[in-house]
């Protein structure tokens, strides 16, 4: 339902052994939002999304998904996650694209998590939707950066998630592939109504697609609609008016 809060954080700080990387992060994401999370290197963007997924320890404050405190959250079938692919891939991993995408369906399964024929149909349907049916028998180690990214996206959406979290998904891609990828995510947001949280260092490109921007540098410096972002005096002083104008110029 529109207006429903999908993600909420209150005074969140997350910790590694080396210390805290975020301080007092509070924001809410509503159903259907497309949130671009931007900020300089080392600002805690990846740590923020990882803490929301339970992958990094939250040492202060709270986070909730779909109204449940993170530690009580178990509806992982509502969430899709796409990490930075180059860090993820073991180049000799022997799985085919079909097998890899199938792993995304595990969140829908109860023990023992077995696959059936309808799962195979679902996998084929998702591969077709993303235009990569021809890759299904290829090994993941044989794919180009752009192909791999689409395969991992297929894995992230094959379970029809309500929230899709993407962590610098385009870091290794060229400009053209990157634009195509952002546009594909915008389609998923629009046609499926999936809430998107996308981390990127590319503030200019994401501005064309995101409905909200979250600017992070250890803490939230700005969170609001893209229009507000474009007229924010804080962002003007941070980027300079000219850069802000370039970022906000939607094609």
């Amino acid at each position: 339902m529109p207006g429903e809060i999908v993600v909420r954080t209150e005074q969140l700080a997350c910790c590694y052994r080396e210390g805290r990387v975020l301080e007092c992060v509070s924001f809410e994401v509503e159903r259907g939002d497309y949130v671009g999370i931007v900020g300089p290197n080392g600002s805690g963007k990846s740590s923020l999304v990882k803490s929301l997924l339970g992958l990094v320890e939250i040492c202060h404050g709270t986070a909730s998904l779909f109204g449940s405190r993170l530690k009580d959250f178990s509806d992982w079938h509502k969430v899709g996650y796409l990490p930075q692919s180059l860090n993820l891939l073991n180049p000799v991993f022997p799985a085919t694209v079909r097998e890899t995408v199938g792993l995304g369906l595990l969140s829908l399964k109860r023990f023992p998590k077995r696959m059936n024929r309808s799962d195979n149909d679902k996998i084929d349907e998702t591969l077709y939707e993303l235009g990569i049916s021809d890759l299904k028998t290829k090994l993941v180690g044989e794919l180009s950066g752009g192909q791999l990214q689409r395969v991992l996206l297929a894995r992230a959406i094959v379970n029809d998630p309500e929230l899709l979290v993407l962590d610098e998904p385009t870091a290794a891609l060229d400009q053209e592939t990157r634009e195509r990828f952002y546009s594909m995510i915008a389609d998923i947001n629009r046609t499926r109504g999936v809430t998107i949280m996308l981390v990127t260092h590319d503030s200019g490109a994401i501005g064309k697609y995101a409905s909200k921007m979250l600017y992070l540098d250890k803490k939230v410096l700005f969170y609001g609609s893209f229009e507000e972002f474009c007229h924010s005096p804080e962002m003007s002083s941070l980027f300079g008016e000219h850069s802000q104008h370039l970022m906000c110029h939607r094609h």
């Binding site: 052994r17 990882k50 997924l53 339970g54 992958l55 178990s74 992982w76 079938h77 969430v79 899709g80 996650y81 990490p83 993820l88 073991n90 000799v92 991993f93 022997p94 799985a95 085919t96 097998e99 890899t100 792993l103 995304g104 595990l106 969140s107 399964k109 023990f111 023992p112 998590k113 077995r114 696959m115 028998t137 090994l139 180690g141 044989e142 894995r155 379970n159």
Partner: protein
């Protein structure tokens, strides 16, 4: 001696049956361990098996009874390696090295203090599958069935953590629990494989079939099937060859395994020259 004659001996039938089952376990588990980059856990746990066997022999518990001492100790050691990795600010290889050092030094001290059982302990170092008793075959078969049932129940979750821990967690897989199951099953297999190839060569039973399968497999299930076929084939060929040309069974099994690896390595370079680097 011809092949039919060889196969007619009870001790060889027992060796082939138990050896094939143990190889099946080790090679399938090995695929998950190699892909998680913790394949040397087999070596570490084998060293712990050495220490635990020294304890068993000091308590005058031989053969099947020694398994009763070894199994709980090796199972605990496998969990210890996991905990050291998770909580001890150690990488997997360092944790394996620590536990391995503990196992082997405890074994040496006990062997030295006990004096009289050093020869028995040496037989565990190099394995002696041809001396396996019917009782040991039955225990190996029961454990193998148990491990294979567990692995098939957790297959997709094991596959998920082998692919990537973080993605597995976000798919609702309890990665820490599934990792524990993987290392516990490995610990059981290592104790069983001690009789087959000995403590010194156990890790080869885990690593070599998986390494060969990774050269040629076109899919995860195919990789497991290839590793299993090589593991079982090496044991059968190795045992028969060792009898025909009078060589130690354990080392012959491992050499056959390595020959399969060399063949797979070369074949990959012929079939997939573009993807060979």
């Amino acid at each position: 001696m011809n092949l039919l004659e060889i196969l007619s001996y009870g001790f060889i039938q027992r060796a082939l049956l138990a050896g094939t089952l143990i190889a099946l376990l080790c090679s399938v588990l090995g695929v998950f361990l190699v892909l998680r980059r913790i394949s040397l856990i087999g070596d570490g746990l084998a060293h712990v098996t050495f220490g635990s066997t020294a304890i068993a022999l000091a308590l005058k518990m031989y053969s099947t009874l020694s398994l009763l001492v070894s199994m709980p100790i090796v199972l605990l050691a496998s969990l210890g390696i996991l905990k050291l990795t998770e909580k001890g600010r150690l990488s997997g290889d360092a944790a394996i090295g620590l536990v391995s050092a503990l196992g082997i030094s405890a074994g040496i001290i006990l062997a030295s203090v006990g004096g009289g059982y050093n020869v028995d302990l040496l037989s565990y170092l190099f394995g002696n599958i041809l001396s396996i008793s019917l009782e040991e075959v039955i225990i190996a078969a029961l454990l193998c069935v148990g491990v294979i049932v567990l692995m098939s129940l957790y297959y997709n979750e094991l596959f998920a953590i082998a692919f990537n821990d973080e993605l597995a967690k976000v798919s609702g897989v309890n990665a820490s629990y599934i990792s524990s199951i993987l290392v516990l099953l490995t610990a059981l297999s290592v104790v069983l494989a001690m009789k087959l190839v000995g403590i010194m060569l156990i890790s080869s039973m885990l690593i070599v079939p998986a390494a060969s399968a990774l050269q040629l497999a076109r899919g995860f299930k195919a990789c497991i099937a290839l590793a299993a076929a090589q593991g079982c084939g090496s044991v059968i060929i190795g045992i028969i060859l060792s009898i025909l040309i009078n060589l130690p069974a354990s080392a012959t099994i491992v050499m056959v395994n390595l020959l399969f690896f060399a063949t797979a390595f070369v074949t990959r370079r012929i079939i997939y020259p573009k993807n060979s680097n």
